[in-house]
Each structure stands twice: as C-alpha cells, then as structure tokens.
C-alpha cells in the first residue's frame, strides 16, 4: 500500500501562536479523513481571521489538545527551533499467526508533516532592538505585520491540505467502521527524550523497529 506523504509549508510562529496554529492545521487534516457521519463545527481562530472546521469528536479534540500541550512544553525547553509534528493515518492488520501467537501490524497509508519555526520571545525582542525600534508603536506594527504574514501563510497551508486531499485519492483504504474518525491515527510531537535530535529520533526508532517507514508497529 502506498504511503502518501505531505510536507506542509513551514510556518514561522511565536510561542503564543502555536496552539491556535496547530489546532487549525490538525483539525483540518483530520476533518478530511474523518469519513464517518460528521456534524461539522465551525471554529473561528482568535488570533487570525480564519475559520476552520472540527468534526466534533470529543476524544479527538482531547487528544489534539494533549499533544499541543506536550509540544508547547517541549518548545519551552527548546526555544527558537525548527521542528516537525507528524500526523499519520494507518490501518491495523492481523499478521499471519505464528507459533508465538497472533500479531497485528500498523500499515501507514498517509503522513502529514507540519513544519514550524518557533521564534522565542527573546529572539523577537532582539530582532526588534537590532532594528533600533525603541518606539513601541513600531514594535506593535512589526508584531501585527508578523501576525498578518502568519495568517496568510496559515491560509496557504490550509489550501495546501485541501489540494493534497483532492490530488491524492486512490490510497485511502476502505472505510472500516461507522465511527466518526474512520481510521486510526497517531500524532507525534518532539519529546524530551529525543531533545538533542528533535523529532527525527522518533522516526529512526520506528524505522529500526519496523524496517519500513510505512509500517508503524
């Protein structure tokens, strides 16, 4: 089975914007893959003039919030870094029964990479000072220009998701159940254990375990 990969355009965010940006992107992706009976819920971003859609699943919302919390606490310890959050959809299949019992394997059929460049508050202050803008008005202008630029980039990313979904249709497996969230998914954020190498150690671990990037076991 094909594992389609989508690398989303990098978003330069301040720490305060992380939660909103991630909510927006993650919910939009999952909405396109939640193929069960959904009553969509429109959500207006607080920081941006953007409305995104949630599929109204409480468990999903909870899980996304947990992962965002986890990511934000990681960012606190590792400021001013480029990082990736991945969202994978997979199928669970039973392997051939062996002498050692039955085993299941997870076959990943789609992976999304959300690329963020998180600016630390210090970096922002430095950037403002370097431009000799002691004037608070200029600082606020700069801040609003950053916000406008991020809003535009975020909108682009959302359209990128829509475009990808439209372009790649053949790899979606048959819908296995009647749940809102039709397919198992996994959100991976950088964790403290792989702080020095960032998120990629997690991928390496999985590759070592499975031998193939599309099999997350």
């Amino acid at each position: 089975m094909n594992c389609e990969v989508c690398q989303l355009k990098e978003l330069v965010v301040e720490q305060i914007e992380i939660r909103e940006v991630l909510r927006c992107v993650l919910h939009t992706i999952v909405f396109h893959r939640a193929l069960g009976l959904v009553r969509p819920k429109d959500v207006d971003c607080e920081l941006f003039e953007i409305t995104y859609v949630q599929c109204g699943d409480a468990d999903l919302t909870k899980k996304i919030e947990e992962k965002i919390d986890q990511f934000i606490s990681w960012v606190d310890k590792h400021p001013n870094k480029k990082c990736q959050i991945s969202l994978s959809f997979y199928e669970v299949k039973n392997k051939q029964p062996t002498w050692f019992g039955n085993k299941t394997e997870r076959l990943c059929w789609e992976q999304w990479y959300i690329n963020l460049h998180v600016l630390s508050p210090k970096a922002l202050v430095r950037s403002h000072h370097s431009k000799a803008s002691a004037n608070p008005k200029e600082n606020s202008d700069e801040s609003s220009s950053h916000r406008a630029s991020l809003e535009s980039s975020l909108r682009e990313v959302l359209f990128q998701i829509i475009k990808f979904v439209n372009d790649k249709k053949d790899h979606i497996p048959p819908i296995p159940n009647n749940e809102i969230i039709s397919f198992p998914y996994e959100i991976i954020v950088p964790s403290s254990s792989d702080s020095s190498f960032g998120w990629h150690t997690d991928v390496l671990k999985r590759m070592l375990q499975t031998g193939h990037p599309t099999m997350l076991s």
Binding site: A34, L37, V38, V53, L158, N166, I172, I180, I181
Partner: protein, 516 residues
C-alpha cells in the same frame, strides 16, 4: 453490511440519485455559508455538545444528513431553487454569489417606484431614498456532472474482480459504487472547509455579525447557465477546483471562480440598528388585533385576521427601519397573494430577516411540491407539468400565476377557510383606504402558513389556509426533519415505495462504510 444490488434496472436509478444528492449537498454547503438568512455559525443544537460520546448517534441525525456522512444545518436558501433545478436533468448547477452595494441618494421630492420612504431618526423626518444598487458577482460556483467523462480506470474494475473468480455484475457495481461514494465524501469535506477560507466568507461573517445596517449585502442566484466574465473581471479573479472526480458513471466536479480581494466591511459606512422600532405595525406581536392604528390617518374598526402572520413584518422593520413607499396599486394587487414588487427588492438583502426567497420557497413548495425522483419516476418526472428547464427567464414570472391559481383553488375547495379569507378581504379593504405605509408588512400574507425554518412565535399559530395535509405539514411543522428538506427522502418511505431489493439507496451510509 449492505446487500448487493441484484437488479440491473435499479443501477441507473441509484446512480442518478447519488448524483442528485451530490448536487444538493454541494449547493447546501455553499449556500449555508453565503446565504445571510442561515447562519451555521449560530448553530446551537450540536449533539456533540450534549453528548460527549465520540461515536455518532444515528438518532440525532436526519435521513438527509446521512448522505455523504455530512450533517448540515437547515438552509431554506438551498431549498429555494433546488427543487426546480432538480427537474433540469442534471444540467450544471451554477450558484452566483453577488455582492450588492446600495448607494442611497436622498431626495425630498418623490421618486421612482423603486424608492423608499425612510424615517430619518436624527431629523425625525421622512425622506425618499432612491435605491441605487450595484451588483458584483464575487463567487461563481459550478457543480457539474459529465456523463461522457467516464474514465474510471480499468485497474479499479479489475480490482473489484480480484479474489473472486466469478465476479458478478452486482459485485462489481457494488465495489465501484462504494469507491465512488467514498470519494464524494472526501470531496464534499474539502468543499466544506474551502468555502470557509475564501474571501467571501469573511464578508458573510462580518455582515451577519455586525448588527449594523450596511449598504453591502450578499445574495445568490441559482441557475444552470452562466455568462462568462469579461477579461477585466477575470483579471481580479482566481479559480479553485475540486475534482474532477472519476467515477464509474462519469465525472463530478465543483469549481469556484472568486474575486481575490473583497471590501472590508468595517471600512464601509454603516448605520447602527436603532432601537426605535415601529411597534404598532400590522401583525406585530405587540399589536392588539383590535387596536386602532395611531400612526395612520384613519383606521377602520375591523380587526386584523390572526392569519396574517407577523413573520416577515417584524424582522423587516428591524432590518432597515424602512417603510416602503409603494404605489397603492402594488400595495394590494388584485391577486392577494401575488408577491408585489417591493419585497422582491429585499430578496437579496443580507439582513438577518427572512428574505423573500423563503416566501418564494414557501409558495413553490406548496403550489408544486417536488419530491426526489423515485426510481420508477425517474423517466416520468418531466410529465408533472413542470418545464424541463425551470431556470429560464420566465421562471420567476411563473410564481404569481401559480400562486394565483393556488389561491383560487383554495377558496373554492376549502369551505372552512372562508372565514379567514373574508377576514383578509376585510383587511384588504381597510388598508386599501389608507396610505401605502406598512406594505412590506402585509405583502407576504403568508397564506401558506409560517415560513420554513423561521424561529418565530407565529410559527405555532394554527394554520387555517391549507388544502392538503402534506402541504400543511411541510410548511407548519418546521422541526420535522423529514419534511424540512424536500430533496431528502426518508429511507423508510423510500423503501416502502420501491420494490427494489437492494438497500443501496435507502442506506447510503451503510454502503459507504460496510465495504471491506
């Protein structure tokens, strides 16, 4: 698990129904977030809020929600013309979303028929305002089905046969049907998300939320044809496409041509909604039916008939604080239920009040109810006396005549209605003696009952002027989910109507899910 369709005769009907529902859902998605009357954003009856369960509860969904697994809110605007389009034999569905700008020109001298008498609250004087409108199509949505474009990959068909030495035609059909159905689900999800990212959505949102009277408003028009944009217009536009979606029965696609940059509503001059409301207008809940109209030079003693619903009047009054200045001839036309000209000017208003399309839909639904074509009817539906291309220019002209006929029949057939009709005549006589004020209050006389989907206390009034139980229930039982949307069929009723042994049409959601 869905059963396999065994009758080859039913397959075209299934396909036709899927295509029709695809068009309906697309139109619904678009209009839900462009039609000012319906604000999906104010939706409160979200079952997920009350039920923390992560799995969907089928009891909280209506039959039409199950189509493509997407539950949408009621949207009278989507119903308005879709029934008519349904007769158009799967022609393209074109939805033009128009930005209207009203440029009032104040004039103390009287005026053209399209002027309004506006009470200037600051000077407490009445002024005529000529309605100078400019219109611009900000979005053109085209939903298309191309039956010739069947490029369903051979490998897909082969895949359906895989693992089965003797793959019956029914199995093959079921496989392809499920595949196509799943793709449509995804496409509609994309459409739903994208509609909220386009510039017109912000405009729609701002206009809905502002609580101001804006010179700007959004409206829409549904048709099956369009005139291409000029080069100048094209230069400021961009295009976004969904699909084309290859299915075994052809190609489905949705595209939008939209203006990239729209005006910022906040930069436009607007008038705050005044709290000064004319509360003694006809049909106001505050008005005693026996009360004399103090604001009028003379008023008869005849009480108003309770059949005059305040549904439209109160909201209109709130909307613009406008008292229409209408020539007396148009105030009470000979045909008491013919929609006069003035309300049609409001039909494209962005006000939160129910626009006249609800009125038209009401009339339409009552005078010529159109149901989703059943299998056996698919070929015979054009014989219902409805023009095959209802989106011709004569379409709207057809409303008054239909309504007129309808009313005449009603008065002949329904003896119990005589009293209410007499009341109306009395009211008409009474008001024809006074000025043309408050015409917009009376115009939607609403003989067909409360309008669809309106949350109004009057909606619960007993509905006297109905001929058939079906039409009554459609218009009066607003919360009846099975009846609000005529293009949604109840699965059970469909089953009972059909002899088909397949569950494909009745339970589309099962088909979408059960495939493994």
């Amino acid at each position: 698990m869905a059963s396999s369709p065994s009758s080859s005769i039913s397959e075209p009907a299934i396909v036709e129904q899927v295509i029709t529902e695809f068009f309906a859902k697309s139109a619904h998605i678009i209009l839900e977030s462009r039609s000012p009357y319906v604000s999906s954003r104010n939706y409160s009856a979200d079952p997920f809020i009350s039920s923390p369960s992560s799995s969907s509860s089928s009891s909280s969904f209506r039959p039409r929600d199950k189509w493509f697994n997407l539950a949408l809110k009621d949207c009278p605007a989507a119903l308005e013309n879709f029934d008519l389009w349904r007769q158009s034999n799967l022609e393209p569905l074109v939805v033009d979303v128009t930005l209207n700008r009203r440029k009032p020109v104040r004039d103390r001298v009287c005026s053209s028929p399209c002027s309004f008498l506006v009470r200037n609250l600051s000077s407490d004087r009445d002024e005529f305002v000529r309605d100078n409108r400019s219109e611009k199509i900000v979005e053109r949505w085209i939903v298309q089905y191309d039956s010739q474009g069947n490029s369903w990959p051979v490998r897909e068909v082969q895949a359906s046969k895989k693992g089965s030495r003797v793959a019956s035609h029914a199995t093959e059909f079921e496989f392809m049907y499920k595949k196509a159905y799943g793709r449509i689900i995804v496409l509609l999800r994309s459409l739903y998300a994208a509609v909220r990212l386009l510039p017109a959505y912000k405009l729609f949102r701002d206009l809905n939320a502002s609580g101001q009277i804006h010179p700007l408003s959004l409206s829409h028009k549904i048709s099956s044809y369009f005139e291409p944009f000029s080069q100048d217009e094209d230069a400021e536009r961009s295009q976004l496409g969904f699909g084309p979606l290859d299915t075994f029965f052809g190609k489905l696609s949705v595209s939008v041509n939209y203006v990239k940059t729209l005006v910022d509503v906040s930069s436009e001059p607007s008038t705050p909604l005044s709290t000064q409301v004319i509360d003694d207008y006809v049909g106001s809940p505050l008005t005693d039916p026996l009360k004399r109209f103090e604001s009028l030079p003379s008023a008869g003693e005849t009480p108003f008939s309770p059949t005059l619903s305040p549904t439209y009047s109160d909201s209109r009054a709130l909307d613009c604080n406008v008292i229409s200045h209408i020539p007396s001839c148009s105030l009470f036309p000979d045909n008491p239920v013919s929609p006069p000209s003035i309300p049609l000017q409001f039909s494209r208003s962005s006000s939160p009040s129910p626009p006249s399309h609800v009125y038209k839909a009401l009339l339409c639904s009552d005078s010529s109810p159109v149901s989703i074509p059943l299998q056996g009817e698919s070929s015979g539906r054009l014989s219902q006396g409805i023009p095959p291309s209802p989106y011709s220019k004569s379409k709207k002209q057809g409303y008054p005549s239909q309504v007129g006929t309808h009313e005449t029949q009603a008065s002949k057939e329904a003896v119990p209605q005589a009293s209410s009709l007499e009341n109306k005549v009395q009211v008409k006589k009474e008001l024809s003696g006074i000025t043309g004020l408050q015409s917009n209050i009376i115009l939607p006389q609403n003989n067909n009952g409360p309008s669809t989907g309106l949350k109004n206390p009057s909606a619960n009034l007993p509905h006297k002027n109905s001929r058939t139980s079906s039409s009554l229930s459609f218009t009066a039982n607003l919360d009846d989910s099975d009846l609000v949307c005529p293009f949604a069929e109840d699965a059970e009723s469909r089953n009972s109507c059909r002899t088909m042994d397949s569950a494909l049409i009745a339970k589309p959601v099962d088909l979408g899910f059960s495939f493994e």
